[in-house]
């Protein structure tokens, strides 16, 4: 729908340009008819509006497409003072920039409270989409044409079939051509020529669309009087084979999709656990405020978005370093003021950081209130990447998988390639020896904790795109992140990666079978059993350093 509406505005601009050149001066009888039908939209009920829209498109006026698109996009208003209908440039602006529905020229502006929007509801939008689809076939944007063909294929009549045929003759885009030929094949199934029907089934068997499958399955049904809907046995046979093949492909693609769901859930788990893998895994600090550090990251995203409302698209990218800084500084502060006095006393650390987590929650409640904050998803992160009719991958999940891998590689690189990483490893393996070698262990402690906290903040940025940004955000993820770290093996980054991914995939593989509630319980129970058998997790620390711990 989003793609559709975006596409809809370009032709409008084009048409406006054309209209301003041609200049329609006098009001012809056609204009008068158009205007009078248009006027009826003001007071009509939603169900009447659908038939009015139908009559409007029958007037054949050149403005029909623009006006109906405007109605679909909530951009059709009437002026309260003289009841005159106008198209507006952008809905809900103040003042509204008016466009004359006849000439499609700019017609000044009007304050928003002097205008009334002509509303739509779902069923009206549904009808309008169908009507506008007829016009959209000529759009310059292939994606808009594809949507239009798809919309039309859902309700095929003689007129739409004729339109599609005409379009197929001039269509150059292969994707749109394919979609049109599928739509035409669907319409052929209703025809009387059995050879044409057989041909159509053959065309359709290449598709993996559920709509096509449903239509083909109908051919195998029996009428109430016992005869087959499809009289030709050959066509029936072909249809049965086609249905089977489509089902097979769809199952295959849905397995791939489940795998992707699992990986994407896994990468969220990994992302929230990496920071903890550093503070808990490497330093051995049980940080109960880890979730709240993520929450700070999510709120940072909100603040960044509020600060740059004009650039939502890049606000997320700005928020990543900002969240790292905010949470990282908070981490350093925590380490310097509280945690460093509690090294080697896990119980006290646990209680103290739990206290910090409550403090941070209340701090956020006091500043931002207890209500959730709305973080906007930028356009480039919404929607899905449609690989074919059976397999689509949502962009936000795709980016989060990629983002997790980037963050993970960055952390591994820091540990392996930088001086800080070397120091961290040295201190965590043998503190006394590292000190003897001249490493400022206190400074390394603060930096390590800051790094872990900063990564938590970065995870918060990602979470702000997936879930509610509220004071309780951290609490809902803290258990999961500890589970991943313990499962993967304390002190091992790769363990967290493998652990998180396998937990995510297991969860998602089970979910279709036993439901979300049981899947979660199952994973938890399996994890407890696993820890019984291998208390040190998937990848236990080895060597002399491990013995000391």
């Amino acid at each position: 729908m989003r793609r559709f509406s975006m596409g809809g505005q370009w032709p409008l601009v084009l048409l406006l340009a054309v209209a301003s050149v041609t200049r329609i001066y006098a009001q012809s009888p056609k204009d008068a008819a158009f205007l009078s039908v248009l006027g009826e939209l003001r007071e009509a009920s939603y169900s009447d509006k659908a038939s009015i829209a139908e009559r409007l498109s029958q007037t054949g006026h050149s403005s029909v497409r623009v006006v109906l698109t405007a109605l679909l996009e909530d951009r059709l208003y009437y002026r309260n003072s003289d009841q005159k209908v106008f198209v507006v440039k952008t809905a809900d602006a103040d003042p509204l920039a008016l466009i004359d529905p006849l000439s499609l020229k700019a017609a000044g502006s009007a304050p928003a409270d002097g205008m009334t929007k002509i509303g739509t509801n779902n069923s009206l939008r549904h009808t309008l989409k169908m009507t506008v689809a007829h016009f959209s076939l000529g759009s310059a944007d292939a994606a808009v044409r594809l949507d239009a063909v798809h919309e039309m294929s859902l309700s095929l009549d003689e007129e739409t079939v004729a339109l599609l045929r005409k379009r197929l003759a001039v269509e150059t885009n292969s994707g749109v051509r394919k979609e049109i030929s599928i739509a035409l094949a669907l319409s052929t199934l209703d025809g009387s020529d059995s050879r044409a029907r057989l041909q159509a089934v053959a065309t359709l068997s290449d598709s993996v669309s559920q709509d096509v499958r449903n239509r083909l399955a109908l051919l195998l049904d029996k009428s109430p009087d016992g005869t087959f809907v499809e009289s030709d046995a050959k066509v029936r046979q072909a249809a049965a084979a086609a249905v089977e093949s489509i089902d097979r492909w769809r199952t295959f693609y849905s397995d791939i999709q489940t795998l992707f769901f699992g990986l994407s859930l896994g990468s969220v788990l990994v992302l929230i656990a990496i920071g903890l893998a550093i503070t808990f895994g490497v330093m051995g600090v049980i940080n109960m405020a880890h979730g709240e550090l993520m929450m700070l990251g999510a709120y940072t995203t909100y603040v960044v978005q509020t600060a740059m409302p004009e650039h939502i698209g890049i606000s997320i990218l700005v928020a990543i370093p900002a969240a790292f800084a905010v949470s990282g500084l908070m981490g350093v502060l925590m380490e310097r003021t509280i945690i460093r006095y509690l090294y080697g006393r896990p119980l006290e650390t646990l209680l103290a950081t739990f206290g910090v987590s409550l403090l941070l929650q209340q701090l956020v409640r006091s500043i931002f209130t207890a209500l959730n904050r709305s973080v906007i998803t930028p356009d480039w992160m919404s929607g899905e990447l449609k690989l074919n009719d059976a397999l689509s991958i949502t962009y936000n999940r795709l980016y989060i998988v990629i983002f997790t891998l980037i963050v993970f590689s960055a952390i591994v690189a820091v540990f392996k390639r930088t001086r800080l990483g070397l120091d961290i490893r040295a201190v965590s393996q043998n503190r006394a020896m590292a000190k003897a070698m001249g490493i400022r262990t206190e400074w390394v402690d603060a930096m390590t904790f800051g790094l872990g906290a900063g990564i938590a903040g970065v995870a918060g940025v990602a979470l702000s795109q997936l879930t509610n940004v509220g004071p309780d955000l951290g609490q809902s993820y803290i258990i999961d992140s500890f589970m991943v770290v313990v499962f993967g093996g304390v002190g091992n980054l790769w363990g967290s990666l493998i652990g998180g991914m396998s937990m995510g995939v297991t969860n998602k593989l089970l979910e279709p079978w036993i439901g979300a509630v049981l899947a979660k319980i199952f994973v938890l129970v399996a994890l407890i059993l696993f820890i019984q058998v291998r208390p040190r997790g998937l990848f236990p620390p080895r060597g002399r350093a491990a013995e000391d711990k």
């Binding site: 939603y46 769901f261 859930l265 689509s392 999940r397 979300a516």
Partner: protein, 428 residues
């Protein structure tokens, strides 16, 4: 000039002190407010606490009730169910309040129920709930299932032509009971069991990929499909985001929700939700003089012109006004007498109709279906003909079909019309 201003301020302050001293000396009527101000439910319940305070403030400006000022006793049960019972008994036994406005979740209501029944207190419960209950000591000003869920399903069936149903809920008592009623209702209407899919997800579920993909698949069988959502508050945002991302629009598969209102929408980006449906008994966008006055009063009281109003706030408003009328009529604040006076009491609601307390302690409410608009408000697309009487015991569940609640003639919250037995308040 400056000195005089200071003098005036000082004398005003002094007057204030004297006045409040006098007021404190006078007997006041205590009103208990039992809403969570911290914890997970604070987000919803704090608003209702403020609504009660606003109503008390306004009533005091009108001279209070029975010549006495009202005084709020606010306690914080902190979203902690056992604490609700504790705080309720504190309100009733220690503070001796005349009435309590409170609770949001069904579990909190169930936990205070024995306390109110033991101490014979009076509770106004302002939130839509799953029904199957009628207590002598509770007035239910929120919607019963027949005032929200059933009309919503009817709307989808008749106006939208839905043939296939996904009942999607969070795994706890309200969705489970509501879905049980809806399933029985749909089956009674001739929907095939294969066309109903019921699913539950854990609280705060944030990964909806699998469920939404399953809904998409269920909805692609060639019949018009709708989702009836009893998903609890926090899980809604990721749910609608996932619907938007997987390109399921309201025109293809509409989602009707029973717990998404103006307040919830104000905390999220409403664009992916446009066209999705909600069923309530009140919408902020309904244009009546009473509603406009209420919204203005709220904005002035809360000092924030951007705060929204919502359905439970209207239910609180109605409950408060019903109590004031009953107390005035009874001439006393004694909860036992007020409870007996309440059935039959009427007060205007905010949408131009009348709320009347029924013998089963529920009230009459109009039902509205609204479509979400991009600004987080609702566009009303359907309205019930007049008010619907709240039904405590659902007519569609085999267990409660013959049960009736009547506190006027039968004096029973759970009367079996077949066996002619009153089996106490809790249905067994």
């Amino acid at each position: 000039m400056k000195r005089r201003a200071m003098f005036t301020t000082a004398s005003l302050l002094a007057a204030g002190v004297v006045f409040s001293g006098v007021a404190a000396a006078q007997a006041t009527i205590k009103i208990g407010v039992l809403h969570s101000l911290s914890g997970t439910m604070a987000i919803s319940e704090t608003t209702l606490k403020d609504t009660v305070l606003m109503m008390i403030d306004a009533q005091n400006k009108k001279g209070g009730v029975l010549g006495k000022k009202l005084e709020a006793v606010v306690v914080d049960p902190a979203s902690n169910w056992p604490l609700f019972a504790e705080k309720a008994s504190q309100l009733l036994e220690k503070d001796k309040v005349s009435v309590v406005f409170g609770c949001w979740t069904s579990v909190s209501r169930k936990s205070v129920l024995p306390v109110f029944e033991k101490d014979n207190g009076l509770l106004f419960y302002p939130v839509q709930y799953e029904g199957e209950e009628s207590s002598k000591n509770v007035i239910y000003t929120g919607a019963a299932p027949n005032q929200q869920a059933i009309p919503a399903v009817d709307y989808l069936m008749k106006e939208v032509g839905v043939k296939r149903w996904v009942l999607e809920g969070t795994d706890y008592v309200y969705p489970r009971t509501t879905n049980k009623i809806l399933e029985a209702y749909l089956l009674a209407k001739g929907v095939k069991p294969a066309d109903i899919s019921i699913n539950y997800t854990p609280f705060g579920n944030s990964d909806w990929q699998t469920r939404v993909a399953a809904i998409k698949k269920f909805g692609s069988a060639g019949k018009k499909t709708a989702v009836v959502s009893t998903i609890n508050g926090d899980a809604n945002v990721p749910f609608y985001k996932e619907l938007g991302n997987q390109k399921i629009s309201a025109e293809d598969i509409p989602v009707v929700a029973f717990s998404v209102g103006e307040e919830e929408l104000s905390g999220l980006d409403a664009k992916p939700l446009v066209g999705q449906l909600a069923a309530w008994n009140y919408f902020e966008s309904i244009n009546t003089p009473a509603n406009k006055a209420f919204i203005d009063q709220w904005h002035t009281f809360i000092k924030n012109p951007k705060r929204t109003t919502n359905d439970p706030m209207e239910a609180t408003y109605i409950g408060f006004n019903l109590w004031v009328k009953a107390v005035t009529k009874a001439g006393t604040t004694d909860p036992a007498k007020v409870i007996d006076t309440l059935p039959g009491i009427e007060t205007p609601n905010l949408t131009g109709g009348t709320a009347k307390v029924l013998p089963n302690h529920h009230i009459t409410k109009p039902v509205y279906i609204g479509e979400v608009k991009a600004d987080g408000q609702f566009n009303v697309v359907w309205k019930s003909a007049g008010e619907v009487a709240g039904d405590a015991w659902s007519d569609y569940l085999p267990g409660s079909k013959n049960i009736e609640a009547d506190w006027v003639t039968l004096k029973c919250g759970n009367y079996n019309t077949v066996t002619k037995v009153c089996s106490g308040q809790n249905f067994k």
